[in-house]
Symmetry: none
Subunit: 210 residues, 4 copies
């Protein structure tokens, strides 16, 4: 029985350290984070960190990779199945994005770290992009293209730049990073307004009363 507990703890050590590292790196940034604080937060000593991770850089990279994994998996699951009209798809798609980008503090903070440390860890940015950014954009692009082919939507220029369609969501993420809780946003309304803009634009539509 005691074995079980010890073994389980042992197996969980790296994960616990990674979680602690995430929190410290997010709070202080890469350079200002002290391994000693990470250790304390994980309930181990400095030496233990070096038993599992070669360097601070390695810990950081592994942390970003590992803490992004759940998001990637959820994303893949979402991308797998989706049908319905393009209109419905856009709403569902943006809904999912908001769940990840705006409501998941994990994802948001990893975004902060990637922006902050893009110069130091360009490969990490690219890796994250390949697993997360590119698939999301590409999937959106394809579905919109199909929708345009089927005449459901205009073949607008933004179909080539899915970033434009997702932009307001990423923006919200950045705003939340900048202001923490000092400038709260009604995400629900923001989301609805975003969907509305993407689908209808600002100009009056025929028969619509401004």
């Amino acid at each position: 029985m005691a074995e079980g507990v010890r073994a389980r703890r042992k197996a969980e050590r790296p994960g616990e350290i990674l979680q602690a590292a995430f929190e410290e790196f997010v709070d202080r940034g890469y350079a200002a984070t002290r391994l000693e604080d990470v250790a304390a937060r994980a309930g181990v000593t400095k030496g233990t960190i070096y038993f599992y991770f070669e360097t601070k850089e390695n810990l950081f990279v592994t942390m970003v990779r590992e803490l992004s994994r759940p998001i990637h998996e959820e994303m893949e699951g979402f991308l797998a199945d989706h049908n319905g009209t393009t209109r419905e798809f856009v709403r569902a798609y943006l809904g999912f994005i908001y769940k990840v980008i705006a409501e998941d503090a994990h994802f948001r903070e990893i975004l902060r770290l990637l922006i902050a440390e893009a110069h130091r860890f360009p490969a990490l940015v690219d890796e994250h992009d390949e697993r997360c950014g590119t698939p999301i954009m590409e999937h959106l692009r394809q579905r919109l293209e199909e929708g345009a082919n089927r005449g459901e939507i205009r073949s607008a220029g933004s179909l080539d730049y899915p970033q434009i369609i997702l932009g307001p969501a990423l923006s919200l993420s950045v705003i939340m990073l900048l202001f923490s809780d000092r400038k709260p946003v009604d995400v629900e309304r923001y989301f609805e307004a975003h969907v509305d803009l993407v689908l209808n634009g600002l100009l009056p539509r025929n028969g619509e009363v401004s």
Copy 2:
């Protein structure tokens, strides 16, 4: 004559230090930047920095403030005069935003620093927001409201969240921060697609052939 040169140099010292600080802080982040490197880049010694700035924090804050000033001034100039249809306004407005947000590396890198150090310098974020973010948003919001009142545009939900309308531009900025030159974007086309989406949305407009 020599005195004149020296005097002018002296007067420029603080500015040179701030410029050097900007470059170093951008390259390495706040914590990882060494004052010694800033000094070397500015062509002075560490001690000189302390003659002009009290601490590293103070240097950072002053630098962000000072290097943002030209942008603020340009912005105020722009916000001052603008007439024409809402349609024209939106295009001109976004055009200006792109000049600042996408083409001015200075602004972009300050954004990076603000995102990265938002926890350490929340007051600096707020200050920057008051001088730059809020006025831009508020101005846009008012003009759009007027346009809606005049019936030029729909009274869409996004009128309450100008961030949504500007979102794709901010997004581009973030993308450029993440990938430097590894993923170049055709800003001209991106901009046009952005304007098109904001004005027309994705759904087919009456009489429009997809």
Copy 3:
């Protein structure tokens, strides 16, 4: 059968560790040697070393003792039987010394360790001296004394300081330690020149053609 192999391996463990320790200590010196590297070289884990040896110091001391033993035994064997003229003895004696001091890298490297760590392990130096240095010197001294009594050699002052007679050999050892293979020496010729000097000195002998 497998047990036999395992049992034999087990019995050899300490020896393998000592051998590995020798190589690492020689390469890096006492303080810079990591027990982990010793373990890796011996094909065991760090813990295993502590099963056989109490501390790093203990491992070092035991290693020097154990790796010196074959030399001591060979030496005792040599010292046991020797007759012939003093002239013959000197040549044979020096020949043996060269085999040990100049050709046996083991001995040489132990000498390096003793010199390097003389301050930290004085007792080890003394122990080695008692088993190796003193007997060699004393034996030489006695035989030379006998030779002098018999009139075979001069009763020169160097009879009281056998170190002088052996000096060039020890010197060669030190030179080899300093230059590894960067300054190769023709040991055969060096040896002959050494014997010649010891027996004849530099001054011309009667009837000898310079």
Copy 4:
């Protein structure tokens, strides 16, 4: 006046640190020496050491170089002027060597460091050899060759290996390193016996009564 004192101290700092480093390195060896102890001995703080020397390795190398310099200079002075018979030369020459090699603890301890750290600092060994070992050997060789040409001494094989002639002196140095003060040697008598052996060898000379 106060300036003078401060300036003098400033100029002496590096030298004081070097001297302190010498003592610590000699006592503990390269790896086991703590920069903190060097600093304390020099009366400065750790940081100051790094103001003058880039790394511990650099401090070590500089120290060996700098502390060897006086010896090199003395040596060059000695090698400059010498005449008289070869017999006289050998005595004077060895006399000088003993002064350096046996009586100068500085030189001896540097020899210990070079032997101990030959693997880590081979270039330093070679450098020291070029400035100290080779010139001494070469000078001796030339003078002996001349002596042999003039018929003053035998053209013995050891003329090609001056190390053999100096060997007993180097040996004494090593012995002193090994035993510190635990085995005192009468250097005067040792020296005389050495000179005697080099000049006359062990075999009886004609007309000499053993």
